[in-house]
Symmetry: C2
């Protein structure tokens, strides 16, 4: 097992805090230093034993660290990476937890310079509805997917270290290119979020919204659960993955028009066919996912 003597976590919230706890659980880390903009949250993380010390600034925090985990909002990546660039130890690895990857890579290329070879972009697929150090837990990544999107410049040793870090946290690690990553998650994550937000917004704008909500039940609740996600985070994801997301919205619009035509034409056989295929595909997916322990 790879061991990290000193890990710097930038953004000690649900994700960053859980990385620290998971590495501790595995006995894979010496000291954890916490870096962030919210002093109260860092004090809380210290009190909870998630981190061992608070760094006054990012450069000080990453000095001497053999691994740096950037779990801050993606919009802060450019200034964060610029701030740590010159303080990085020569053999250190940097990985991140951003939900989009092409924009993160662009920010890294624009700020890390020659140190880009130490950067291993990553996206842990783990819930993000609760925030702050209090939400962190050591088992968050157990059995979850972490997608790493190495770059042509990525040093193989840095890639191995980052993948070992995520595996030590309990995750299953797979690789894609940044573009592949953003296309996949536009379809299975970003699009559903946009669809859920759009439905709730449409109903909320109606004159009889209160009556409509009054009869919404469990199906509506589950369908729209992701519309209670962070507006700021999802705004940033929409902007960062704009191109893939627009393509998916258009594809979905076409699919929905096809179904609309079947309904308008009263084509019961084709409607049932589509619903049956859909249910079969979903049930098969769930069976596989449960077999994998997720």
């Amino acid at each position: 097992m790879m061991r990290f003597e000193r890990v710097a976590v930038i953004g000690v919230g649900l994700i960053g805090g859980s990385v620290a706890l998971a590495l501790r659980r595995a006995g894979a880390v010496g000291r954890v230093v916490g870096i962030g903009r919210g002093r109260a949250n860092l004090e809380r993380a210290l009190a909870l034993g998630i981190i061992d010390e608070i760094a006054d600034d990012a450069a000080t925090g990453v000095a001497g660290a053999d691994a740096v985990v950037v779990a801050a909002p993606v919009a802060q990546f450019a200034p964060v990476l610029a701030a740590v660039r010159n303080a990085l130890a020569s053999g250190a690895v940097i990985t991140d937890a951003g939900s989009t990857k092409q924009d993160v890579v662009a920010a890294a290329r624009g700020t890390l310079g020659a140190r880009i070879d130490r950067f291993v972009p990553a996206h842990p697929i783990a819930g993000a509805e609760r925030v702050g150090a209090d939400a962190a837990r050591e088992a968050l990544f157990d059995g979850r997917n972490v997608v790493v999107t190495p770059l042509p410049e990525t040093d193989p040793a840095a890639l191995a270290a980052a993948e070992a870090l995520w595996r030590t946290c309990g995750a299953r690690v797979s690789r894609m290119t940044p573009a592949e990553h953003d296309a996949v998650f536009a379809a299975v994550s970003h699009l559903p979020h946009v669809l859920a937000y759009a439905l709730v917004a449409m109903i909320a704008e109606r004159d009889n919204a209160e009556r409509l909500f009054g009869y919404a039940a469990g199906g509506f609740r589950d369908f729209t659960r992701i519309a209670s996600s962070s507006p700021e985070m999802w705004r940033d994801i929409c902007l960062a993955n704009r191109e893939s997301l627009v393509a998916e919205i258009d594809a979905y619009g076409t699919a929905l028009q096809g179904l609309r035509s079947l309904v308008a034409a009263g084509d019961g056989a084709e409607i049932e066919h589509l619903f049956t295929d859909s249910r079969s595909a979903r049930d098969a997916w769930l069976a596989r996912a449960e077999g994998l322990g997720t």
Copy 2:
């Protein structure tokens, strides 16, 4: 409390069986006779104590009943109502559990003749993912909405009896016209089902479907849960409520195009605005719904 000496349940599945159990729990029923096409399911309902006897046919079953609950698939309503029309006791009330109401009313008008005055269309808003007598439970309707859609011809005593029946089952009863009902549920139930089915079908048709599903997570699972609903039942709902549903699909298409434009234009402020309004509306709805115990 109103008491029913003999209740006939046509279709002893999740809904019909739960009505029987809920009335028993309240001590509001003498004997329950079960009517249905599946003999094995009726035998099971008898063994479970949900019903006291099995009727050989619908006319025999409803004879002497003071309440008849039609919980069969909506597509079977016309033959079922035609079969029971002449066997109904003079003071009996008939209510149903169909998810759409204008088509049920049309079927009732076409078959019940002068007995239409005893018919109180109803829609209990309760989960329908499990089926058969084994799924029935006495608390299914506790705190749930039941919408009744009385007709101009409905006898006030029949309306009172049907509302008492559903309240005795633990439900909150409210009234709408059949058209209002179908418009409300097109928006908060039928549209979300169609949207979820369409998303899963679109992904399942892709060449890289397996990879895409491989990275779908909890948000996708909840968003698409209703795409595992019965294809036959939802086909029938789409056909029965075609007009309202098509109107809602079109309204949603317009709403989605609006959001697409914001994403394509990179209008972060308006995207965040829409997401924030959506989250606020959903969270306020959930807070109210939880306050009501649902």
